[in-house]
């Protein structure tokens, strides 16, 4: 505990930066941009130290910091990362820098924009490192506010509708999760333990399977909305299409990962028996999401919407991997989360590039762009390949691992999911064909400038990452091995320990539901 | 001694009349009087209980309820005067309570 508080530093540095930002006069827009870039860049550099100093052999929490916060309730400021969160943290700090660069062209209310952006970074990092349920919940909710403003103020024409939908959807889910968190807290006390919201302590609490069933349902709802899983995905296309470019990138790159991260960190290890009970259902829903997302993406005539629906499909893969409940599947799911952040993030950046020039995203408005913007076309093609899982690029590794894991658990699910891969190739390549090839017949498209230096500046790192993660995945997977092994081991052990606790009768869950209505006065 | 039930019954009936008045009438001054009627009913209940329990508390309640009634009447009538000054239209003395 005597080490440098890396995690707190990177989390609160953006907040501090935001406070300083308030002092910079509104008129000096250049200064505001430069300051924000500096803050995110420094945060990223410091976060690299996490990567260097992270011990891959250790499966538990590292860089732990702990301080009592509301002692009487057992709430503490308790943070730490393991192999699951390490890469997500780095992805967040990395994408933040990219996003600030891509937002250079924002001219409306620059100060507020950058302010919300920095606050958002603090929120995201805080949620990823929290090991206390209340602390997590606070960051989780606080994250919504800046995102809401980013969509609502700097978004497209239907931004207000999209922003409110985004907020309310996520809020409903997370409030029910709050009830479950509180219930968990009391079940822990009832079991004779000291009152605590400490996640690692709560991992050790063995609950009867029928109790787990309900608790998992509440957590699952919150995270499934965030992921988003079909059929709770409807907020996503609206939010994505209306958000400004950087907003979409962060939304796809980090916020959606919060959902899968939530499953890995909270819902699954806390309630393993419920996971087992829900797994078939979740896998079916995941597969439906893969195919549904792909089919809907295919018929879109707006590039950004297409990418948004492809997200639904991709995250279906991630969920399929997680609920395969074996090493390959879970690791693939985690890896695919990172991939999705890079490739979909890059796709949104690319869509932003063309939108800035033409102020339209309709596929029909383009055609033959490869002639006018050759460099742009090349980058776009690379990222497309990464998104559809071409070997040698990052998407392949994740999808392969997921399919392997899914195959081991359910051959049928794997087969259906495979059709999703094929469909993805179909809609992406078809879109590329319509946009970049064919005759350059639209007058407005002929004089389009190719990538600028700034655009190269934020696209090159993304392309590099796509290749790195595809060619040498070992860099990344190695750090997660120990954590995930421990994760699965604990998962199985806890499942066995809980199984015998209380066998749920045929209608036990119904009974529980009824008992909850009027508890009478049975205080403990 | 008057049986407990008789006085309390009378008190309940008067209280009910007051309640009906507040809910049904619309003239502001009549509303005020209906509230006074309710308070009188309550006073009767206190006196009855005090008498039957040989307890002084009920009588003190009556004393204080009257104080409150006086203060309420003063402020209430001041509000009524205010209301009259503010609007001089027709039906100025009426108000609908069960709206909104």
């Amino acid at each position: 505990m005597s080490h440098f508080p890396y995690l707190s530093t990177i989390t609160f540095l953006p907040l501090l930066g935001a406070l300083v930002l308030l002092l910079i006069p509104r008129k000096s827009e250049g200064g505001i941009r430069a300051w924000t870039l500096a803050v995110t860049a420094i945060t990223f550099v410091i976060s690299l130290a996490l990567w260097v100093r992270f011990d891959p052999a250790q499966g538990g929490m590292q860089f732990v910091e702990r301080k009592a916060w509301i002692e009487s309730l057992g709430i503490s400021y308790y943070v730490g990362i393991d192999g699951i969160s390490l890469w997500l943290v780095l992805l967040t700090t990395f994408l933040s820098v990219i996003c600030v660069l891509s937002s250079w062209g924002i001219t409306k209310q620059v100060k507020e924009y950058m302010l919300f952006f920095l606050l958002l970074e603090t929120g995201m990092l805080g949620a990823l490192i929290s090991l206390d349920l209340v602390l997590f919940y606070i960051f989780w909710e606080a994250m919504l506010i800046p995102m809401y403003f980013l969509i609502g103020v700097w978004g497209g024409t239907d931004r207000i509708y999209a922003a409110i939908k985004f907020f309310i959807y996520t809020m409903v889910g997370s409030l029910l999760m709050l009830v479950a968190i509180l219930a968990l807290y009391y079940l822990n006390i009832r079991a004779g333990n000291a009152p605590t919201f400490d996640l690692l302590k709560l991992y050790e609490l063995n609950l009867a399977p029928n109790v787990q069933f309900w608790m998992f349902a509440a957590f699952c709802l919150a995270f499934a909305i965030k992921v988003p899983m079909w059929p709770l995905h409807t907020w996503l296309p609206d939010a994505h299409t209306q958000a400004p470019t950087a907003g979409s990138v962060i939304l796809a790159g980090v916020l959606l990962k919060m959902g899968t991260y939530g499953f890995l960190r909270f819902a699954m290890p806390l309630f393993p028996n419920a996971v087992e009970a829900w797994a078939p259902f979740m896998m079916v829903v995941a597969v439906i999401g893969i195919i549904y997302g792909a089919l809907v993406a295919m018929v879109q005539d707006d590039v950004k919407k297409l990418v948004a629906y492809s997200s639904v499909s991709h995250l279906g893969f991630v969920m399929l991997g997680l609920f395969a409940l074996n090493m390959q599947g879970v690791q693939g799911g985690l890896y695919q989360s990172l991939n999705h952040g890079i490739s979909t993030g890059a796709l949104f950046l690319l869509v932003g590039v063309i939108y800035e020039r033409r102020h339209t995203r309709a596929i029909a408005d383009f055609g033959g762009l490869a002639k006018a913007m050759p460099n742009y076309a090349v980058v776009f093609l690379i990222i497309t390949m990464s998104s559809i899982g071409l070997p040698g690029l990052n998407g392949f590794v994740g999808e392969f691992l997921i399919m392997l894991g899914a195959f081991l658990t359910s051959k049928t699910a794997a087969v259906f999911a495979a059709t999703g891969v094929i469909l993805a190739a179909g809609y992406m390549l078809w879109m590329v064909k319509r946009v970049f090839f064919g005759p350059l017949d639209k007058e407005e498209n002929q004089g389009l400038a190719d990538l600028t230096g700034l655009e190269w500046g934020y696209l090159i790192p993304m392309v590099v990452m796509a290749f790195w993660m595809g060619i040498y995945p070992g860099t990344f997977l190695r750090k997660t091995d120990a954590t995930l092994e421990l994760w699965l081991e604990r998962f199985e052990a806890k499942k066995e320990a809980c199984r015998s606790l209380e066998s749920p009768g045929a209608l036990a869950w119904l009974q529980d539901g009824l008992n909850l209505v009027f508890p009478g006065s049975h205080a403990d | 001694m008057i049986p407990f039930e008789y006085s309390m019954g009378l008190s309940a009936v008067l209280f009910g009349l007051g309640v009906v008045g507040v809910l049904v009438r619309r003239n502001v001054i009549v509303l005020l009087m209906c509230v006074e009627l309710m308070l009188n009913a309550v006073n009767l209940a206190f006196v009855t209980v005090a008498d039957h329990l040989n307890s002084v508390e009920g009588l003190l309640y009556v004393f204080f309820v009257m104080t409150v009634a006086a203060a309420e009447a003063a402020v209430g009538l001041a509000i009524v005067v205010c209301l009259y000054r503010a609007r001089r239209a027709v039906h100025a003395d009426e108000i609908s309570l069960l709206k909104g």
Binding site: E71, E112, G152, V179, L182, S521 | V42, F64, L83, A86
Partner: protein, 484 residues
Amino acid sequence: MTFSMADMRLLTPHLVITAAALLVLLAEAVSPGRRKGYLPYLGIAGIVVAAFTTPGLFGPARSGFSGMLAGDAFAAFVYFILYAVGALTLLVSDAYLRDEGRDHAEYYALVLLALVGMMLMAGATHLMSVFLALETMSIAIYALAGFFRDERSAEASFKYFILGAFSSGFLLYGIALLYGACGTTEIQGILDAFASNRALAGSPMALAGVGLVTVGFAFKVAAVPFHMWTPDAYQGAPTSVTAFMATGVKAAAFAAVLRVFFVAFQTLHVDWSGVLWVLALLTMTLGNLTAIAQTDVKRMLAYSSIAHAGYILVGVVAGTPEAGAGILYYLLAYAFMNIGAFACLIMVGRKGHENTELDAFAGLGFKFPALGLAMSLFMFSMAGIPPTAGFIGKFLIFKAAVHQGYYWLTIFGVLNSAASVYYYLRVIVTMYFKPEPDTPVVEGLRAGPSMALATILAGLGVLYFGIVPGGLVDLAEQALRYLV
């Protein structure tokens, strides 16, 4: 039987504030010319002095005046909530009343006297004192609500007056029945009567008494279906008075509810919790659903205050010290965020025009960044989004409800909370996402130094108690430990 200096010690803060009220009245009478800008600050000085003389924040419970007044940590905690409410209200009123041309000593004196009534409600341990304190508070508020003397103000005042007097009738009849059933109306005495005589808990007279007392209090805290006076009274009253009513009256009434239900009716929890369960659900749901339909921010806040009463009732239903502590915390948080929000409303208005319809807020977020920031903060806090005091308040109350197994009520509570997000966000949406109309409704802000100070204090309170709630939670729990 006679009183002593120890008794007077418990009454000191009340006496100080009463003296301040008299001083304010006197000062205007003798002050030369028209200079009376210092009057509210005289009142605030009184409140500050009272705060220093408040006994019993720590240490065991004391009681004085033959068991009529408590000097316990519970009372002290509520006193401090009320000091905050009173001081913020006076700060907010200053520039507002001057602008409206109604800055009279009577106003400040009435605020202070109402404050005394509220404090006595929180400290009273005998239903007779509770009743008298409640009336002191209410009569002062009736006069304050009508203080602008225009039609809307007078109508609001009258409506509040009649339904307030009406509900007092119910409360009193309830007290009379309890008196008949228990032979006393001292809170501890009622508890003892119920505890010593098991059969009493089933006596129809006692139950009818509890029921009527519940109705009486339900009116005061604006619980559905006894809420119909709220929207008109809140909307018609001067905005500063609305803030005072929504926070101070609520704090005092709930303090009395806690004492009466948690102590006197402790053994009857099975009986009243079911009724309050339904009331809480109705109050939250109706308050929120009607708030959604409003297009006037002031009226929206009136309905939302009904919804907030509903959340607090969830805590009352739970009926444990833990829940009581949550309620106290919530009341404090609510005081800060609500007065802050109303201060923002005052600022957008100008003499004779309140400008509280939602459309008036279009584009104000960027036009007046500080106002936008403050209003957003208060809206987020009311919606219960961290890291604000409103979140911690809801968290504590729902935590206590879950602890007692009221899962469904809690789930309804959080769903309501999610629904309320919609209309709170709508204010922010209008402020930031909508462009200002070509002919701006709000040209400038009615903000003086005192208004700015009040808003900043309220904002800091919301943030501070949202980020470092620890100490206050401990204090609230301690307060309840001595109560129950």
